[in-house]
Amino acid sequence: MDSGHIAWMIAASALVLLMTPGLALFYGGLVRARNVVSTIMYSFISMAIVSVVWVLWGYSFALEGSGEFIGDFSKIGLSGMDINDGEGIPDLLFVVFQMMFAIITPALITGAFVERFKFTTYMVFLVIWITFVYAPIAHWVWDSDGWLFKLGALDFAGGTVVHINAGVAAIAAALLVGKRKNPGLESHNVPYVVLGAALLWFGWFGFNAGSGLKAHGVAVNALLVTNTAAATAALTWGILSQIQTGRMSAVGVASGAVAGLVAITPAAGSAGVMGALAIGFGAGAICYGAVLLRHKTGLDDALEVFAIHGVGGIWGAIATGIFAVAAIGNTAGAIEGNVGQLGIQAIAVIVTILYSFIATFIILKILDLIPGLGLRVSETDEDQGLDLSSHGERAFVDDGAD
């Protein structure tokens, strides 16, 4: 064990945890004022529920055992894991670090169905989705016995497991829950959006630079390329916004930063700084376009989960196959001549899309049919706002008018 690696990985775990409240603010600022508490709670409750599921069975299902498709029951309740087990870092630290990824992934999905999804059903969904969608995909990609891992798919920090997965699940959810009755034209609180994006950016350093599980050169490279891609994508998006509307939307720049962070995620362990510039530029331009296209469809993926996390994740996974540098991550990409890597990346992408969409769709469909659950709040509750109807609280209460 190495105290330096442990030091960094504890800090990295804390940073990734903070991403979920960051997301809560980011999403919370984008909705109407009557749904802020609800939107924030979708994320915050994931910290509570997924943490418990993870130590009870989530970790064991996701990252233990020798199966190709799913873990096993050997570490249920983290049984038999001693604080001194592990090399480099304690195994329990790996459990915690991975937990933070499992927390934020379903929180990302909620952007698709904010302002109308039933909170109690969502809590049940969290438990089931982590078990049947997140755990298997994490096993495929990150467990050394997982079939995508063995195939050689590169996904340093979760482009497929986290982002494509959440982005595609978001489509399934948006389809099933239906459109908002009366969506707001503007974000209700732009400072929350920008502050949330900043916390995401900050936490993402833990996400990506922690995914090597060590404080070493690869972590530093991940730090550098993460920042570079975020910055490039934010700038690209901002400039496109300026060109098209004559104004530089703050929400746009913040969204660009997130898109860049998404796209660099799978590549953070293998792309260099030039690759990061390219990936960031691509993420800014492609996801910007994806948002505009989404607006032309009838799909009310309210906070653009697919356009940013889905599309950004796909672009990132493919780009990893293009820009991977053997000197950094030991595997070359297409530019260095290993064109075959592109095919492997494509397989990982397609399989993740298919599995995530189908499994999420089925889960939600069943939840919709169970009496007492159901996906959508009543029309009156939606009109009144979910803050009052689901949580009994208004976000903002003034003096005098109390």
Binding site: L185, E186, W237, G238, L240, S241, Q244, T245, G246, R247, M248, S249, V251, G252, V253, S255, Y288, V291, L292, H295, E304
Partner: protein, 117 residues
């Protein structure tokens, strides 16, 4: 007694309240509203920065003051002069509505009528 309600641009509140004080009006109150009229509205960016929309409703401030009948002209003139965009005025500079007030009561003293305003 008359009630003057002036819908003005938020950025002109300072000028208008100064003008009111100068004109001898010692009491008023104001609050922000969302207004819609001939003004084109404001351009707001939507779609994560990729689209531009026209929100017809624009932020305005409503200033209310109750005055005695004979001050009507002086006060409306003061408001109009201070609220109008310099030079020739712009669409959206606002409107003034005048209505009559039956009585006024000062809470502190309980006195009513003209003396209370």
């Amino acid at each position: 007694m008359l009630k003057i309600e002036a819908i003005i641009r938020p950025e002109r509140v300072g000028e208008v309240t100064e003008a009111l004080l100068d004109a001898g009006c010692s009491g008023f109150h104001y609050h922000n509203v969302t207004g819609q009229g001939q003004q084109q509205g404001v351009k707001v960016v939507t779609g994560r920065g990729g689209q531009i929309a026209n929100r017809s409703a624009v932020p305005k401030t409503v200033l209310t003051t109750v005055i005695s009948d004979e001050m009507q002209e002086k006060i409306t003139k003061a408001i109009v002069d201070a609220a109008r965009t310099p030079d020739s005025g712009d669409i959206g500079d606002g409107k003034i509505f005048i209505s009559s007030v039956v009585d006024a009561v000062r809470v502190r003293t309980g006195e009513s009528g003209e003396g209370a305003i």
